[in-house]
């Protein structure tokens, strides 16, 4: 009993008609010559009803257009076309399929017949549609980012985890006059004398996964050196790994040159002040020397007279006054000596 059943369900006609796969044979003009029951059931038709239809009539309009414009020429020029997504009309609406077709030609190379298998992929198609939607969404987001990055006045770029460039905004293309750049190795936009130093610094950040921040002199298409503030920030994915780097370069040339100019000016002022002080010091020393001489002369007289007076006999009261006068003269003499040494 079971062996006869097995024979029945493996018999060629049974397989052709009942396998969960559509089979269809049609002429280049679309006339359907043979179709299996599985396919006709999918479309809600009998096999006989399908023989009255044209291949293009069982497709949706858009699938018919695609088949006419793209697949028909392919099958005329080559013998196969694989995994073509087509939508067929059915009594319940539409069914999504993948069609594999083989074309046969006569001795003159003229197409005479197409044999095709049809796989129903409705659920897979839903998944694929979701993927396509997501892809479109991602592309839209990418366009938004690019639009935004082109509206800001900064140079903006993104790089892979290893530092190789993914995207550069229009400002970068305009500034450096190139579309392809790596920023990764010896980027020629950085002034030559700083290039190696900057690269090493960036390399350290890249390996350590740390933010890079630096004031850098860049040279663009105009061949003029300009100061930029460059910041490159790592972007971590959900797994905690660096997925990409976001970089920006802001032109700070005006502020930087102003800062440098202010610094130079301040430095000059300090130098001048020091020089003034030095000059003043000399003047003061000269004055002190001159004044000390001028004062020392009468003081020397006073001190000489005091020495003469020391030999004279004086009353006790006068001796006390004499000693006070001598001490004051000595004190004054000491002060003048110190001032002249200054």
């Amino acid at each position: 009993m079971s062996s006869s059943k097995i024979s029945e369900i493996t018999e060629t006609d049974f397989l052709y008609n009942q396998l969960p796969c559509g089979f269809i044979s049609y002429k280049p003009n679309g006339k359907i010559l043979r179709v299996n029951e599985t396919f006709s059931k999918w479309l809600g038709l009998t096999v006989e009803e399908m023989y009255l239809l044209n291949f293009s009539n069982i497709l949706t309009k858009a699938s018919g257009l695609y088949y006419t414009m793209v697949i028909d020429p392919v099958l005329n020029l080559q013998s196969t076309a694989n995994e073509i997504y087509l939508t067929f009309l059915s009594d319940n609406g539409e069914i999504d399929t993948l069609l594999n077709a083989v074309s046969y030609k006569d001795e003159q190379g003229k197409l005479i017949l197409i044999n095709a298998t049809v796989q129903k992929i409705t659920d897979r198609k839903k998944y694929e549609s979701a993927l396509i939607l997501q892809k479109k969404h991602s592309e839209e987001e990418k366009r938004r980012f690019e639009f935004l990055s082109n509206t800001v006045p900064n140079q903006i770029w993104t790089a892979n985890a290893d530092g190789t460039m993914i995207y550069v905004n229009q400002k970068i293309i305009d500034y450096f006059g190139v579309r392809e750049m790596t920023y990764y190795s010896s980027f020629e936009g950085i002034v030559e004398e700083d290039r190696e130093k900057i690269f090493k610094s960036w390399q350290k950040c890249l390996l350590a996964g740390k933010r890079f921040e630096r004031e850098v002199k860049l040279v663009g298409i105009k061949q003029v050196e300009e100061w930029f503030f460059i910041a490159i920030e790592p972007f971590y994915n959900e797994d905690g790994n660096i997925e990409s780097w976001f970089g920006s370069a802001t032109n700070i040339h005006r502020q930087k040159t102003l800062q440098i100019a202010n610094y130079s000016s301040l430095s000059l002022s300090l130098n001048n002040a020091q020089k003034n002080l030095d000059q003043n010091k000399q003047v003061f020393a000269n004055i002190a020397l001159n004044q000390s001489h001028m004062i020392r002369k009468p003081l020397a007289n006073i001190m000489g007279l005091l020495e003469l007076l020391a030999d004279e006999e004086l009353s006790k009261e006068s001796r006390n006054l004499f000693q006070l006068l001598s001490a004051s003269a000595a004190e004054l003499d000491e002060m003048i000596k110190k001032a002249s040494k200054f």
């Binding site: 280049p28 003009n29 679309g30 293009s56 949706t60 309009k61 858009a62 699938s63 018919g64 257009l65 695609y66 088949y67 006419t68 414009m69 793209v70 697949i71 028909d72 020429p73 392919v74 005329n76 020029l77 080559q78 013998s79 196969t80 076309a81 694989n82 995994e83 073509i84 997504y85 087509l86 939508t87 594999n100 083989v102 074309s103 046969y104 030609k105 190379g109 003229k110 197409l111 198609k125 694929e128 396509i132």
Partner: protein, 264 residues
């Protein structure tokens, strides 16, 4: 300039005749589409084959969104080639959208062309008041969605089948590897430009003789559209082939060759 253009558009020059036949392929194809037709002319004519930028083996990097945002950009490809090769008295043969591209090339540079042949032409694909182009806007959006789905696996479609086909020599497969090798994104843009074009007003500008070759049963265009062209174009004659489909140069090359020979 000459070398750039011939490389950009993958131009092939065949035959040594004094008269020139220039073949323009349609959407989704490249110059291989003419392989059953041009050999019938190569003994008597100089044949110019090319791929529009974005199609076949053209230079994809030459694709420019702005230039190819209308059929005029594609018409410029034709004019560029003719100027680079210093061609005159050209008979242009265009399939499908190439018919209107050729029409625009003639409009822009009439001094280059003598005659023009339209195969399966349509001056407007989208239906309009009192005009039946055949498709509506929803059909176009659905078509672009199908292209999206198929281009995800486009290489599979044209890859040799694992089933094989012993009837076909391997050589034929190799010849067509570039066929339809259009960049998917460019193809979608080309489809949008093609189907949103409206060249009905340009028909009256055509002063040189023209021939329309139309299949009796064409899913994309129709006898009605071919008749519209004839009614609005001076000196246009129409041949209806008793074959079906949109590519009679592939399905009925003999019929197409005879019609062209009778016209030129």
């Amino acid at each position: 300039m000459s070398k750039n253009v011939t490389q950009r558009n993958n131009v092939k020059i065949i035959g040594n005749g004094s008269q020139i036949l220039m073949f323009g392929h349609g959407f989704g194809c490249d110059q291989n589409t003419w392989r059953s037709v041009f050999p019938a002319f190569e003994n008597d004519y100089k044949i110019i084959l090319f791929d529009y930028v974005g199609a076949g083996r053209s230079d994809l990097s030459a694709y420019d969104d702005e230039r190819y945002a209308s059929l005029d950009g594609y018409a410029l490809d034709i004019i560029d080639i003719c100027k680079a090769l210093e061609l005159k008295n050209v008979t242009f043969i265009g399939h499908s959208v190439s018919s209107m591209i050729g029409l625009l090339a003639v409009k822009h540079s009439p001094e280059i062309f003598d005659k023009i042949v339209f195969i399966g032409p349509s001056p407007r694909y989208i239906n309009d008041t009192d005009y039946h182009g055949g498709i509506d806007h929803k059909d176009l959006e659905d078509l672009l969605a199908i292209m999206d789905s198929n281009y995800l696996g486009w290489s599979r479609i044209v890859a040799p089948s694992i089933m094989g086909n012993p009837d076909q020599p391997q050589l034929a497969e190799e010849l067509t590897t570039s066929f339809c090798a259009t960049d998917p994104e460019i193809a979608k843009k080309f489809a949008r430009v093609t189907f949103l074009s409206d060249n009905r007003a340009d028909l009256s500008s055509l002063k040189i003789p023209s021939l329309t070759i139309q299949c009796e049963d064409d899913f994309l265009t129709s006898k009605e559209v071919a008749n519209y062209i004839q009614q609005h174009t001076v000196n246009n004659q129409t041949v209806f082939l008793k074959t079906s489909g949109h590519c009679p140069h592939l399905s009925d090359p003999k019929g197409v060759i005879e019609a062209i020979k009778a016209f030129i």
